[in-house]
């Protein structure tokens, strides 16, 4: 007998009108209910906002969700947000998957609502299929060497090195030239205060 599918919740985000202005998010929501393993679908105006995250947490608890799909923006932006959200109610962060309906869909297909909606459905289907196969993961923890390297000894590097050192950290300040100072040292006065650069 094939393994039973995990219980998947899908959270479709309008992102105000950022997504909903182009993608028919209600159609995507309706479509998501038909996907294998999906037991709960919620559409939100802003999924990343506190009420949106509460919906996710509530559904995880009430619907005993084992996987979460957030159909909103790029994971490069809010993956940490939603990983944290599911973790708050005890779901392993690696059991959360995102479908990018904004950067990769609504924002680039503003001239083709039908095409964008069809694509959004596919992206959700893909995320749900992947979510079904996701596994819980434990992140390894490593110690951090208590020393900083600053590359470049111009005004920026000097300031960064000073701040880090004043905060009590060991700093290595590496400068290519024979003296620190960089371009700033060559300037006579600097604006807007018209004082000396060195």
């Amino acid at each position: 007998m094939p393994k039973a599918l995990p219980r998947i919740g899908v959270f479709v985000c309008d992102c105000g009108s950022n997504i909903a202005g182009t993608v028919d998010t209600q159609a995507v929501t309706d479509y998501a209910t038909t996907l294998p393993g999906v037991v709960a679908v919620v559409r939100n105006k802003y999924t990343c906002a506190e009420p949106g995250q509460q919906e996710i947490k509530k559904a995880i608890v009430e619907e005993k969700l084992e996987r979460v799909v957030v159909a909103s923006c790029t994971p490069r932006m809010h993956e940490p947000t939603f990983r944290g959200c599911v973790w708050d109610v005890g779901l392993n962060p690696y059991l959360m998957e995102m479908a990018n309906l904004r950067e990769h869909c609504s924002w680039v297909h503003g001239d083709d609502k039908e095409g964008a909606t069809a694509k959004a459905k596919d992206l959700v289907a893909s995320a749900v299929a992947r979510a079904a196969k996701l596994e819980a993961q434990e992140e390894a923890v490593f110690p951090v060497t208590k020393a900083a390297l600053v590359i470049g000894g111009g005004i920026t590097g000097i300031q960064a090195a000073m701040d880090l050192a004043d905060a009590g950290h060991q700093v290595y300040l590496v400068e290519k030239e024979a003296s620190i100072g960089g371009i700033m040292a060559q300037l006579d006065k600097t604006y807007p205060t018209m004082d000396c650069s060195i």
Binding site: T74, R76, Y94, E103, H104, W107, V108, H109, D111, D112, A118, L123, S126, A129, R130, K133, L134, E135, E139, A140, V141, F142, P143, V144, T145, A147, A148, L149, V150, I151, G152, G154, I155, T156, Q159, A160, D163, L164, A165, V171, Y172, V174, E175, K176, E177, A178, S179, I180, G181, G182, I183, A185, Q186, D188, T190, Y191, P192, T193, M194, I198
Partner: protein
């Protein structure tokens, strides 16, 4: 500067370069080459006796070539460390017969001609990249006669001429005849905001620098007349407009218009120009004693090495790319690395200092935490399935895998694995699992995307760092393209195994695009070289099976290349439209047969 030189917690390594960086967030191993300065900086008391006797004279770089220095020299009076060095390219010879004068007079015996470069390896938790910029060199585009007319100078040369520590002790003279110029013209945007000159961006600092320069001139020489030729004056910062007002109140003329050309009167060395004043819509003629080219800035020409060592990306104008333009402005895409100052984008002193403090604070967050979690995307090896063939070890960019061929096993050092997944794609025995990017997960995406209406879709495998991010950039910039593409994200294009691509075709994909970082920008050192090898092998295989190779595309798109992402997606759609249903059906048939054959063979063995 002085404070940084004597801070007990700052180990200053001047005249040093980064040779190599290994490791990962919180645990970098950095190799630094301390170049030989031939003067022991711990002994030198910068008395200057060596310089007095040195016979080798060369242009002084610090004074922009407007003065000379010796082969043995102090970079500039306030240098930190305050120690001399010998430029060996200028030195007459280390052989005492050739010269050796400096060593003779050095009471401290600080001079050592046999000094060697020193290699130091540092254990580092966090890295701040503050590598700065180059100043634009107008010799490349000689439209204003910088190389032909002595009295055309750059704004950097002006800095040295007006500076009390400069070659003229702050007396402003024109280089041609050492007279004080009383009619001075400034030309803005030299090397900036012009794609013809290779930089479409605004250099940020030149407008205000010129405003400052005009005030300095009016302060030192109340009779001098200054005229500034500009496109826009960008006085956007705190106190900037006041300074601009002051300059205008001081009588400086601001003329909106950029001259096309400068000519010189050979008799006087004076400079003439014709310019269209776009405010008054009139053609004006001007004559000046000296012209200052307000030069812009450029990304560092030697910035590539640091970028490669730290796997950093650059934006299309060549400056370092941040992890997120608004939310992570000083984090580099590589964890544990922070960027600040002009290396990120042109900026003035105040902004540089602000960003430096921001980067230091971000680095401090990591250092204070004392521990770091690494995303659970590393590889695991099932030694029951491993044949010890060594394919994974060969493709791992980090040397994280060790294979025991005798025992037919392999082991991975999790701390060294960055999770690119190229080993997973190289393993023929399914012994490697990429956590969170497993074969089953990726295959599930391919299947879901191609469950229906296959002929209208382009399957795109995109790496997280560049291509997928390039798609995000296109999105943020609202760059429209056809809605036929369907992206599957992996950490690196090296993760894309031949199986995934063939599966997409077998499931009816008309076009498959594999996309990743540009070669030098691969986030996993050079894992995308494996991508190329795999795509070439696939093309050969497709050809053999009678499938048009054009249906599998390979493209490099960086995180900053939104326009390229858009263009590529448009091209993919054009290619898709050319694929017929018969062609797709044929491919599905051929690949299904091949798949079944292979499956049966596997079952039998």
């Amino acid at each position: 500067m002085m404070d940084a030189g004597r801070h007990p917690l700052i180990k200053l390594m001047s005249y040093s370069e980064i040779e190599d960086v290994n490791g990962y967030v919180g645990n970098f191993k950095v190799t630094v080459r301390k170049k030989a300065r031939y003067v022991d900086e711990t002994v030198c008391n910068s008395c200057g006796e060596c310089e007095k006797v040195c016979p080798a004279i060369h242009p002084d770089e610090f004074q922009m070539g407007l003065a000379t220095r010796k082969a043995v020299h102090l970079p500039f009076p306030q240098a930190v460390p305050s120690a001399y060095l010998i430029n060996m390219e200028n030195c007459l010879g280390t052989n005492p017969i050739a010269c050796g004068k400096c060593a003779e007079v050095c009471e401290k015996n600080a001079i050592n001609y046999d000094m060697q470069d020193e290699i130091v390896v540092l254990d580092i938790g966090a890295i701040v990249v503050a590598t700065g910029i180059d100043v634009y060199d107008p010799t490349q585009q000689d439209e204003y006669g910088y190389t032909r007319f002595q009295n055309v100078i750059t704004s950097m040369e002006f800095e040295r001429l007006i500076c009390a520590g400069g070659p003229t002790v702050g007396h402003l003279v024109r280089p041609g005849d050492h007279t004080t110029p009383l009619r001075i013209g400034f030309i803005q945007c030299v090397g900036s905001r012009s794609l013809r000159d290779g930089a479409g961006f605004c250099s940020n600092i030149c407008c205000m620098n010129t405003v400052k320069d005009t005030l300095l001139i009016r302060d030192h020489y109340p009779d001098a007349e200054c005229s500034v030729f500009y496109i826009d004056i960008r006085a956007f910062g705190k106190g900037f407009e006041d300074l601009y007002d002051k300059s205008r109140e001081a009588g400086v003329k601001y003329i909106r218009g950029i001259p096309g050309e400068i000519t010189e009167d050979p008799a006087t060395g004076n400079l003439r120009m014709v310019v269209e004043n776009t405010t008054t819509r009139s053609i004006e003629e001007h004559e000046f004693d000296m012209i200052v080219l307000s030069v812009g800035v450029r990304p560092r020409a030697d910035g590539g090495d640091i970028r490669r060592h730290l796997t950093l990306s650059q934006t299309s104008d060549g400056f370092l790319m941040e992890a997120h333009p608004k939310l992570k402005p000083v984090d580099a895409p590589t964890r544990g690395v922070y960027i600040a100052g002009c290396a990120e984008a042109p900026k003035d002193v105040k902004e540089s200092v602000t960003q430096a403090s921001a980067a230091a604070a971000r680095a401090g967050v990591l250092l204070n935490a004392g521990k770091v979690t690494v995303e659970a995307i590393t590889c695991t090896i099932d030694n029951d399935l491993c044949h010890g063939c060594g394919a994974c070890e060969k493709v791992c960019p980090y040397g994280a895998i060790t294979v025991d061929k005798g025992a037919k096993t392999a082991a991975v050092v999790e701390a060294a694995c960055a999770g690119c997944g190229t080993c997973g794609s190289a393993c023929r025995f399914d012994a490697i699992t990429m956590r969170h990017f497993t074969d089953a997960q990726i295959v599930a995406q391919v299947d879901a995307l191609l469950a229906e209406r296959q002929s209208g879709k382009v399957i795109v495998f995109a790496c997280n760092w560049c291509s997928y991010a390039g798609g995000d950039t296109a999105g943020t910039s609202r760059m429209l393209y056809p809605a036929s593409n369907r992206l599957i994200r992996t950490m690196c294009s090296g993760r894309i195994s031949e199986e995934f691509v063939l599966r997409a075709f077998r499931k009816g994909a008309p076009i498959v695009l594999v996309s990743g970082c540009h070669f030098a920008d691969c986030h996993y050192i050079d894992a995308n070289r494996q991508t190329v090898k795999r795509v070439y092998r696939l093309w050969k295989q497709l050809e053999k099976l009678g499938i048009r190779t054009e249906r599998l595309q390979l493209e490099w798109i960086s995180a900053a290349e939104g326009p390229k992402f858009q263009k590529t997606m448009r091209e993919m759609e054009e290619l898709r439209a050319q694929v017929t249903q018969e062609e797709i059906d044929h491919t599905v048939k051929v690949l299904t047969e091949q798949f079944e054959k292979r499956r049966l063979k596997k079952v039998r063995s």
